[in-house]
């Protein structure tokens, strides 16, 4: 099989066209020949009747033909028209000048009223059509004798006509087929242009001159290109996450390393001190790498995660942890609010936001989730809002709480590490996060996550 789609299509269409045109040509050819033969037969009939009309009974039961024949071609040798009359004994009574040297028919004489049409060769190689008919000739004296009238016409002209017809037919159909194939090839070029565009844009993405595939693809392709974009974004986010992790890792490992070096230089490094720093480094490596390895948006294959059940689970869990405070937690979660990504990421995202809300609220928290239209996407994204009625977050703290890389031991500090994790998850999925004041009185964190 050829590997190109257009080659496949052109090949299969060519086969179909050849079959179709071949059958048509064969049928037309057959029709044409049948019509031609019928016409030939009619012409022969006319000649025969003309001969019958021209023949004269001469005296005592003989037949004679006048010098002036109705069709002068009978008199011209090589004219291709032949005539002969035989009596009941098969003796030739009259023969046209054209047929001298070639008996038209020598089989037994036909009975009166009997006709015979035969194709045969005269003079060895001249194809002719012959019409023979038996007649009862009534003489003037009332006696009748049987005669046989034969006429034959050369098929050369007919064959030439058939050849010409065939040539026209073939060249006509061949031209039509080539025209159709050319039109199809152009059509294919036009139809497949979006595919070539995808190919070109992917090459540009690979080369780095383009960040993702463009929009405006036909509907059959936009699903593919959107998923491709999700894959590209996911890959890029994963890379960013790895870079962040490595950056954080390098940064956080430097502190224990510095402690160990200064302890060694001071000369008083105890085994316990070194052990403690090693344990710290081990913990840092473990937690950072684990997070980088396990988390991550999944672009394909996973169904979107409904927000409702995850939020309920988290509320049950947090109600247990914050049993003393027992705050109210209202849900306004639309049924079509779904998270396009990994369930654990959604749990982390909402868990951290809700944990902060429970931590900082007086009595009341609220989770709002709904599907929102997303520019340039067919599917809808997710808007997730978590609010509380606590003191809120001051403008000066905003940048700090959203900053990446807050260290794990700062986690007791409230909004810190939790929001850093949230920011990471949201940004990795290509979404955005914003914080402002809630109508409840405290902080309002809004995360917007795009569809795949």
């Amino acid at each position: 099989m050829p590997s190109s789609l257009s080659a496949r299509l052109l090949l299969s269409v060519s086969v179909v066209l050849v079959l179709f045109f071949g059958l048509t040509v064969a049928a037309l050819d057959r029709l044409f020949r049948e019509a031609g033969e019928r016409a030939m037969r009619n012409v022969l009939e006319v000649h025969l009747i003309a001969l019958l009309a021209a023949a004269e009974g001469s005296g005592s039961q003989g037949l004679s033909m006048p010098e002036e024949l109705p069709e002068e071609r009978f008199a011209q040798p090589g004219s291709g028209l032949f005539g002969q009359i035989r009596d009941e004994n098969g003796e030739v009574v009259w023969r046209s000048a054209s047929s001298v040297g070639a008996p038209l028919r020598d089989a037994p004489v036909l009975a009166p009223g009997e006709r015979e049409v035969t194709n045969l060769a005269l003079f060895g190689d001249m194809p002719v059509m012959r019409l023979a008919m038996g007649v009862d000739w009534e003489f003037a004296d009332g006696t009748t004798r049987r005669f046989e009238f034969d006429v034959a016409e050369s098929l050369d002209l007919y064959h030439a006509q058939v050849e010409r017809f065939r040539a026209q037919l073939f060249s006509g159909f061949l031209g039509l087929m080539l025209l159709l194939l050319a039109a199809l090839a152009m059509l294919l070029r036009w139809i497949l242009r979006p595919l070539r565009r995808v190919e070109a844009e992917i090459a540009e993405v690979e080369a780095g001159s383009r960040s993702e595939l463009g929009t405006g693809y036909p509907s059959e392709l936009s699903g593919v290109t959107e998923n491709m974009n999700a894959l590209i974004r996911d890959e890029r986010a994963r890379l960013k996450r790895y870079r962040n992790t490595l950056g954080n890792l390098a940064h956080s490992l430097k502190t224990p390393l510095a402690v160990m070096r200064s302890a060694l230089q001071g000369g008083g490094a105890s085994a316990g001190e070194l052990e403690a720093q090693i344990a710290r480094m081990d913990a840092i490596v473990g937690s950072q790498l684990k997070r980088a390895a396990t988390a991550g948006g999944t672009a394909l294959g996973d169904a979107p995660v409904p927000v409702g059940p995850v939020a309920s689970e988290l509320r049950d869990a947090l109600n247990k942890v914050y049993a003393d405070k027992a705050p109210r937690c209202d849900f306004e979660i639309a049924d079509d609010a779904v998270f396009h990504g990994d369930r654990e990421d959604l749990t982390d995202l909402l868990g951290n936001l809700l944990d902060n809300a429970y931590k900082w609220c007086d009595h009341a928290t609220r989770v709002t989730a709904s599907a929102v239209d997303w520019a340039g996407r067919r599917r809808r994204g997710l808007m997730l809002v978590v609010e509380d009625d606590g003191p809120g977050i001051g403008a000066s703290d905003l940048r700090r709480v959203l900053a990446r890389g807050a260290r794990a031991d700062e986690r007791a500090g409230g909004h810190g590490i939790g929001l850093a994790v949230v920011t990471e998850i949201v940004e990795m999925s290509g979404g955005s996060i914003s914080i402002d004041a809630s109508a409840l009185g405290g902080a309002r964190v809004e995360a917007r996550i795009p569809p795949r």
Binding site: A283, S287, E313, D316, A317, V321, R343, E344, T347, G351
Partner: protein
């Protein structure tokens, strides 16, 4: 108060149990899940601290089995997995709170105290009974606003009685909650602690905060104040 600590990492188990004992708790330690289940079902415990990553039985399963065996004490989970899915699953399995490793011991102590208090129906960290106030988070006791100096064991005995104010607490229960199982039990020690507490809380014999019920035990007699919800 008597705690059960189930943790397979020996250094962590030893340091944590030492620090819990220092804070005045009696601590049973178990190094794996089946040992933890044995202690949890065979010995009285007021609270269990369970690591989720145990070698034989997963911590989650241990919690479930303890709950199925009818053990209602609060469970604090230690986990190295800092993902919400794990926390949610642990809480669903029957845990009451969690601490993520690595943790500060103060964090664990705060959670333990809060869980113990909650399990006895107190919803605030400061227990009020008449003029006596006991702050479980700072371990400070005041009478009519004046601070009272208590030793660690005295504090634990008072906390035990006040958490269950109005209920009778037997001498055996107090011993269980103050000492590990290998401690040589001497009920006279409890009587000594009770005597000292009475003198420190009520130097002028006006309040009579602790009743003695012959053959049954002790009862903190001052009425609980209404819990103040903010």
């Amino acid at each position: 108060m008597r705690l059960l600590l189930v943790e397979d990492e020996t250094p962590l188990r030893e340091s944590l149990s030492a620090q819990l004992k220092e804070a005045g708790f009696a601590v049973d330690v178990a190094a794996d899940g089946s040992e933890g289940f044995y202690y949890g079902t065979e010995f009285p415990a007021d609270l269990a601290i369970i690591d989720l990553g145990l070698p034989d039985i997963p911590g989650m399963t241990l919690i479930r089995r303890l709950r199925e065996a009818g053990r209602a004490f609060p469970v604090l989970v230690l986990t190295a997995r800092d993902r919400w899915q794990d926390k949610v699953e642990a809480l669903q399995a029957g845990a009451d709170d969690y601490v993520v490793k690595p943790f500060h011991v103060e964090e664990v102590l705060a959670r333990v105290n809060a869980l113990l208090r909650r399990a006895t129906g107190w919803s605030q960290p400061v227990l009020h009974c008449g003029p006596v106030e006991l702050d479980t988070s700072r371990q400070i006791v005041t009478v009519n606003g004046a601070p009272v100096e208590l030793t660690s064991y005295e504090y634990r005995v008072l906390e035990c009685l006040m958490l269950r104010a109005g209920e009778v607490v037997s001498k055996a229960e107090l011993t269980d909650r103050l000492y590990d199982q290998d401690f040589e039990r001497d009920s006279n020690v409890i009587e000594v602690f009770i005597g000292r507490l009475r003198r420190k809380l009520d130097p002028n014999d006006e309040l009579a905060p602790i009743e003695t019920l012959r053959g049954r035990g002790y009862r903190f007699a001052l009425p609980r104040a209404e819990d103040r919800h903010d």
